[in-house]
Each structure stands twice: as C-alpha cells, then as structure tokens.
C-alpha cells in the first residue's frame, strides 16, 4: 500500500482535531491506537481485532446501502438568531 508514511501526519492531525472537538473522540483514540499498532508492531493482529474492524466498516456500508446520511453529515439551514 503506497504512501503509508504520508497518511500518518494527516491522520494524526485529524485525530487531534476530533479529540479537541468531541467527547466521543475516545473511539477515535482507540481506532488510532489500533492503526498505529498495525504499522509499528511486528506482532499478530488477532482474529478478534480483524472481525471487530470488519463489523465496524460493515456497519458504515449498511448505511451507504440503505442511502442513510446521518443528520450531522447533512447541510442544514443556518441557525436563526434573534
């Protein structure tokens, strides 16, 4: 897979932005740890880790196939301020 080193600073910056922005960023941190582990460790990625990732991406795929876009991904009208 080309450009893996190029992915690292982009993903780090994205993770930092998400962490400073969102309480649910704990999930992002966990995913980031797994991603970095896959790059930097010469160990084994377990069946459980693989299956958990597969399920995670499958859940996103289910949204796509159902044509579902979460509300926070949609462009909504600007707030009305008085």
């Amino acid at each position: 897979m080309p450009a893996l080193p190029a992915l690292i600073p982009v993903i780090m910056a994205a993770i930092q932005a998400a962490i400073t922005a969102a309480p649910q960023a704990v999930q992002v941190v966990q995913k980031a740890k797994e991603w970095i582990a896959s790059l930097v460790e010469a160990g084994v990625i377990t069946k459980e880790q693989q299956n958990a990732l597969d399920l995670d991406v499958d859940a996103i795929a289910a949204l796509v196939k159902a044509g579902i876009v979460p509300n926070h991904w949609k462009v909504e009208p600007d707030p009305v301020t008085t």
Binding site: M1, P2, A3, L4, P5, I8, V10, I11, M12, A13, A14, I15, Q16, A17, A18, I19, T20, A21, A22, Q24, A25, Q27, V28, V29, A32, W35, I36, A37, S38, L39, V40, E41, A42, G43, V44, I45, T46, K47, E48, Q49, Q50, N51, L53, D54, D56, V57, I60, A61, V64, K65, V69, P70, H72, W73, K74, V75, E76, D78, P79, T81
Partner: protein
C-alpha cells in the same frame, strides 16, 4: 473544550512518536480473521481450518485507515451539529466551512464503500488501487474538516 485536551495530550504524543520513530513494520494477520479467512477441511474425522487465500494486510490497513478517518470526520461533524448555536455565535464560519465539506465527505464515504464492495467481490491489484484512491478522497475531506476546526481554534 480545553477539558478534553489534557487527558489525551500524553497519549497523542506517545502515538505520534511511535509512528515517527518506528515507521512501518509487517504485522501478521492471525488466520481465521475477516482479512485472513480459512475454510474448514475435514480429514480423517478431524476438522482443520485451511487458508485458501493469502492474508490481506493491505486491505486490513485500508479498512482501518478508513474507519479511523471516518470516525474523526464523524466526530467533527457531530460536535459542530450538537453545539451549533454556541459555535454560530462565536463564529458562523465554522458551520459554513464544514457545510462545504459535508457533501464531499458523504461522496467520499460512499465511494470507499463501493470500491470496497468491488474489491471484496474481486480482490485484484487494480481493485486495491481503486480502494486506495477512494481512501485518499476520504483522507482529503477529513483533513479539510480538521483544518476547519484548527482555523476556528486559532481565531477563538
């Protein structure tokens, strides 16, 4: 917002240092996982699980990168959505900037999933290339969303 930063600073530093210092190694996928599937073969009454395809570490990495980038973009969009009124009063620009990114993020998400479906059906080198190209679009929109947040932080 600052309360969220300090607990994660040391973790971020550790993660960043690990990535920079150690670089890329070649981890192995345990047989029987989603990216290293096996087929049960019964011989003399004993069931063995045999790998019929090569473990696909590149596919695993692509999916993990996509999952991480998706979660990061999702977190940024959700934060703005859930705190819209407050953020709007501080600066309307963050919503407006993210609103330019949102449709592109949806398209990038969909394109990755389509490329993934095609690759799972026919795991070829060209399919992997298409997957990586779709991933680069996801990377682009996540970077843009991150830049919007960073700009907001600089100006506030």
């Amino acid at each position: 917002m600052n309360k969220l930063i300090s607990p994660f600073k040391s973790l971020l530093l550790l993660v960043a240092l690990s990535a920079i210092v150690i670089g890329c190694r070649n981890p192995k996928l345990e047989s029987g996982g989603a990216y290293a599937p096996t087929t049960p073969v019964i011989e003399n009454g004993v069931t063995n699980h045999v790998a019929t395809v090569e473990p696909d570490i590149n596919f695993y990495r692509a999916d993990l990168a996509f999952s991480t980038l998706y979660a990061a973009a999702d977190g940024i969009f959700k934060f703005e959505h859930d705190n819209r009124m407050l953020l709007w009063k501080l600066s309307p620009q963050i919503k407006r900037t993210l609103d330019k990114i949102r449709p592109e993020a949806v398209a990038a998400r969909n394109a990755y999933i389509m490329a993934r479906e095609a690759y799972v059906a026919h795991p070829t080198p060209s399919g992997l290339t298409a997957l990586e190209q779709a991933l680069s679009k996801v990377r682009g929109v996540t970077a843009a969303a991150q830049a919007a947040v960073a700009e907001f932080q600089r100006n506030n």
